[in-house]
Amino acid sequence: MNTKTTICDNDALSPLPDNIRADVIKAASDAGLRLDDVTDVRLRRGGNSYVSCGERSYALPPITDARFDELIFTLTGGSLYAHADTIREGYINTRGVRCGVCGRAALDGGRIREVSGITSVSIRIRRDIPGCADRVHAILRRRLTGVLVYSPPGVGKTTLLRDLIRSLSRESVQFSVVDCRGELADACRGTSADVLSDYPKSDGIRAAVRSLSPQLIICDELSGREDADAAMYAHSCGVPIVATSHAASVDELKLRAEMASLCDARVFTHLVGLYREGGAVRHIITKT
């Protein structure tokens, strides 16, 4: 696999306010890191904030309440109310960068109504790794079929999907991308993909099958019964689906009833596990 990486955006830290961005750049520079090496930025209200490179973390200056409020204001484009839905789901999507957030949840009938007093922001810096999807691409070149990519968080499932989108596009495959978190859309620019942006995953999958006649559907992070039902629906309509899910092994994956039922129904003919070994990402491919 080609391990040469590039940061996707000209500046992946651009959503941050200038003062916090300067702190991150200074901490990275003091630690002898290039900005390209930074993998995560974790910012906490009044607590310990870090900039990370893989498993190594370096402290940032504490962030006062006022600066943290300004951070949230900037990340939401001065429109917190417009991001209420995604904040409830634990993230803010800003300029194509997904920032994980958490705070105090207010419940209504057992469901989260709103999250107030955000205390943490976690920014994972997205990278493109050309060629990282070659093995999945090889499976799809033989036959367009269902593939599930699984791994624990942060190993590279979304990066793989982004590379796969570019590879498939070069072969003029007519496919739909259901991008409910805004992490795939920019990889689809200039490709042959139909992009369903910000659709709830299950609605997006059903809409693609009904109206776009795709040869393949790609979507990120299947979770829950609704998503599984939608994937089953696509499969039953003869449209294979390439998706990702969190799990460290096939056994763990099948602990979730909905994923087990998808595997049993052979919605996915190949399960591709990703794991890290000495800094490199390896694949385990299992046929179902």
């Binding site: 409020d69 204001f73 484009g77 429109s79 917190l80």
Partner: protein, 161 residues
């Protein structure tokens, strides 16, 4: 004709003219600040509706606001490109409107939908109350300004001539 008398006459007329100009300028300021306050109130209601029905980003909302006051257009445009709180001090508001709009801009975009709608409705009410007060006192203030201008002019004319 006596040259001293001519000079006095010209001086008195110049003072009378400047008093009249000052009174006119004051009247224009009163009208401008009243128009700006009315526009601000309309804007706040517009934001409230946009948040209630569309949940657009605040910059898009400001960008789509079509003001009645041509003179304020560049300021609203600048506000949509930066933030309202950065531009609010450039508006020709009177002191009370400025205070209300500064408070509004400092809270705008920092809360969820319900709190933002409530903020807009509260601000709109405050502005309306202030506009009513401004409107009712406008003619009195203009009358006083005219009277003062005439009084000063006459005083100088009497003094000089």
């Amino acid at each position: 004709m006596n040259p001293v008398f001519i000079c006095k006459t010209v001086g008195a007329l110049a003072i009378a003219l400047s008093c009249a100009m000052t009174a006119l300028d004051y009247a224009r300021c009163v009208r401008t600040s009243l128009d700006a306050a009315r526009d601000a109130e309309r804007f706040v209601r517009f934001v409230g509706d946009a948040v209630r029905y569309r949940s657009d980003d605040i910059s898009d909302i400001i960008g789509s606001y079509d003001t009645d006051c041509r003179a304020l257009r560049p300021l609203w445009k600048k506000a949509s490109e930066t933030t309202l709180s950065e531009v609010v001090h450039d508006f020709p508001f009177d002191e009370a409107t400025q205070r209300i709009m500064t408070e509004f801009s400092s809270e705008l975009g920092r809360g969820y939908r319900d709190s933002q709608i409530e903020l807009c409705s509260r601000t709109s009410e405050r502005l309306r109350a202030h506009i009513d007060e401004l409107s009712s006192s406008k003619s009195d203030r203009l009358r006083v300004a005219c009277a003062v201008a005439v009084f000063i002019s006459m005083s100088f004319i009497i003094l000089f001539l």
